[in-house]
Amino acid sequence: MALSNVLEIPTSGFNFENVARNVALEGLLEGGHTKTPKPMKTGTTIAGLVCKEGVVLGADTRATSGEVVADKMCAKIHYISPNIYCCGAGTAADTEKTTDLLSSNLTIFSMDSGRNPRVVMAVNILQDMLFRYRGQIGASLILGGVDCNGNHLYTVGPYGSIDNVPYLAMGSGDLAALGILEDRFKPNMEMEEAKELVRDAIHSGIMSDLGSGNNIDICVITKQGVDYIRPYQESEYKDKRQKRYKYGPGTTSILTEKIIPLELEVVQETVQRMDTA
């Protein structure tokens, strides 16, 4: 049977093994004043909306590690299947691995069943997995895609809650982006207008949120195919880096020169023949 979870056979009922493990871990760490990691919103603005011809997803490209920008051109829109893409906010490693796992499962499922995956199926697999891990996987995802049932946009929270929505923003810059979307979203928008609206929403997130910045990526999914525009718009604040730090001879001037010859006496001389055939 073509199963959606190729690596593990799903068992019925709930599996709360990880809860006992987490409680035990927290007990161990308590003494050293460390708590188990909470899902973090690590500086991101992602947004998506459903328009007449398909789904438009957008994201900024800044990845932060504490107060430092770790990656200025990180890709936050992940490939799931030819007709489904997913934006990820939260812990970068978690979103990366979760979407990777989902993509692998769906590819094998497509081959086994001979059908293109549906967006609801991807959402259900994500929900089952994230719920099982009780929020320890810090992934807030926006899943968008086009299938035989139409154009879909879903939000998946880190604890495993899902919602089907026409427009959406997530990440630390979500409130700024949501403001733009709430103001200008209309159902059944034209493609160009939709792309501009998503761009404006991400731009607003970049301007108003310290954790978001750099360039804007846009991904357009329609029945005909996918247009992943990376970058859709480059940052206005680019610096010119030299990136070549080679110093030619004469850069440092020589002021004085002193030569001291060392007088050496030959004390012992030995010759050893070597066969070098």
Partner: protein, 212 residues
């Protein structure tokens, strides 16, 4: 209770009322995080678990969605094995088993309502710890505390469908008006032997009371 729910919570108002020939189940549509951010204005809290059985959810959205998913599967399987539509009590019991056996980890409560051939229209409450109770009508969620007086005073057994609709709409409107984590639109589903009718009343069309 709401502030302790991790992730998205359905701080909510839900209710179910039997009338002469059927049952009306209703809810608001707001989902919140941490009691101060509305994460969704249009969340669906009325989940259909079988042809004539619905349940409304309260508590952690993730937990409630996971439980109703498992329950839908189990009820469907039970119905196929028995070769007949499930009883409302059976559906409620499935939810109760899931809630009771996993009571340490789950934070979700349900109201199950529906119609079956054996007992007609029924309403069951499944509370947080897994208590199962059958009542002619019930209210739940954080917003329900504001309408206990109204519900107790205005409920009459054997109402007509229109009277019952008015009762449910008024109750939801009053609760949504006072509870900050309930709001959005009012969803109502009327379940009778003939079928299922879904109604949505947008916020501005809800009945207005004094000071509004």
């Amino acid at each position: 209770m709401d502030s302790q729910i991790k992730g998205v919570s359905t701080g909510t108002t839900i209710l179910a009322v039997t009338f002469n020939g059927g049952v009306i189940i209703g809810s608001d549509s707001r989902a919140s995080i941490g009691g101060s951010y509305v994460s969704s204005k249009t969340i669906n809290k009325l989940i259909q678990v079988h042809d004539r059985i619905f349940c409304c959810i309260a508590g952690s959205l993730a937990d409630a969605q996971a439980v109703t998913k498992a329950a839908k599967f189990q009820i469907s399987f039970h119905s196929i094995q028995m070769e007949s539509p499930p009883l409302v009590k059976a559906a409620a019991s499935v939810l109760k088993e899931l809630c009771y056996n996993n009571k340490e980890e789950l934070q979700a409560g349900f109201i199950t309502a529906g119609w079956d051939r054996k007992k007609g229209p029924q309403v069951y409450t499944v509370a947080l710890g897994g208590m199962l109770l059958s009542q002619p009508f019930t209210i739940g969620g954080s917003g329900s505390t504001y309408i206990y007086g109204y519900a107790d005073a205005k409920y009459k057994p054997d109402m007509s469908k229109e009277e019952c609709l008015q009762f449910a709409t008024n109750a939801l409107a009053l609760a949504m008006g006072r509870d900050n984590v309930s709001g959005g639109v009012a969803h109502l589903v009327v379940i009778t032997e003939e079928g299922v009718e879904h109604m949505v009343i947008p916020g501005d069309k809800l009945p207005k009371f004094h000071d509004e």
